[in-house]
Amino acid sequence: MVIFDKPKALLDVPLHYCPGCTHGIIHRLVAEVIDELEIEGKTVGIAPVGCAVMAYDYFSCDMIEAAHGRAPAVATGVKRANPENIVFTYQGDGDLASIGTAEIVHAAARNENITVIFVNNAIYGMTGGQMAPTSLVGQVTQTSPYGRDPKLCGYPVKICEMLSPLEGPEYLERVAVNSVVNVRRAKKAIKKAFENQLNNKGFSLVEVISSCPTNWGMTPQNALKWIDDNMIPYYPLGVYKDRSENAEV
């Protein structure tokens, strides 16, 4: 009996991510949920610009590559065209929380019936480690070489907190993938975000705190610890909005 294997919704190709990058875990969780809900045949995924730009090569469902930050608008077009499709976006922090803020805010405000997987690793990975809107105060990056100075470039953007006062969104939760327990919680949240769409409940966003060992300049193991020590204190995990019955927020 197979206890664990690669989900079918992931194609059998190697991922291009750096060793220890947790994008791979998040890809797998999304694919596991697609398998479990048996929705691969009607799912359309929207890939971002950033490290996950080639996600269209990894998921076995239909895929569209969006321009930087525009995935929620593209997803809106797809969902409005074919409401029977299950539509998800997979976006990083530069994509969603910087250049794509208008698109994500208004998709949430419209309660667009889509699922958003927001990967927050506090850095621009693909372009080689520049400061992200979510980079922490003091975090050293290529474009904040003396550490992020809030006097110069403000404070990191908290997307779940920012979207939660809107009437629109159905469900907002922040999870992390830096431990076995957290990965299992993340899976539960992602599953709920897809189920909400299946039940026509509307906009669901799961923010996943992820690691970038390469650009953080640490081992994969230390990167997971850095999430515990630095990311989660600033970006507390939990449900920020849930309109479903019996929801605990």
Binding site: V2, G20, G24, V180, R184
Partner: protein, 69 residues
């Protein structure tokens, strides 16, 4: 009886599986190099595996398959 198999050529040797194993029976193979040029993960004592799937849960590259016989 638990059986672990690795898609060795997909492994990047990050070692996240090694760290998380409660039985400490995984390691990064010191003398093997895969197609990608990484030292891949391997299991040293299969009979001690409890099938908790912690390794597979943390593997970013989906290389671990776990079966129970």
């Amino acid at each position: 009886m638990i059986k672990l198999t690795f898609r060795t050529d997909f492994c990047k040797g990050c070692g996240l599986c090694v760290d998380v194993c409660p039985k400490k029976i995984l390691r990064i193979a010191p003398d093997t190099i895969n197609k990608k040029g990484h030292h891949p993960a391997e299991i040293t004592e299969m009979d001690k595996c409890i099938g908790c799937a912690s390794c597979a849960t943390m593997c970013p590259d989906c290389i671990i398959k776990i079966e129970k016989e």
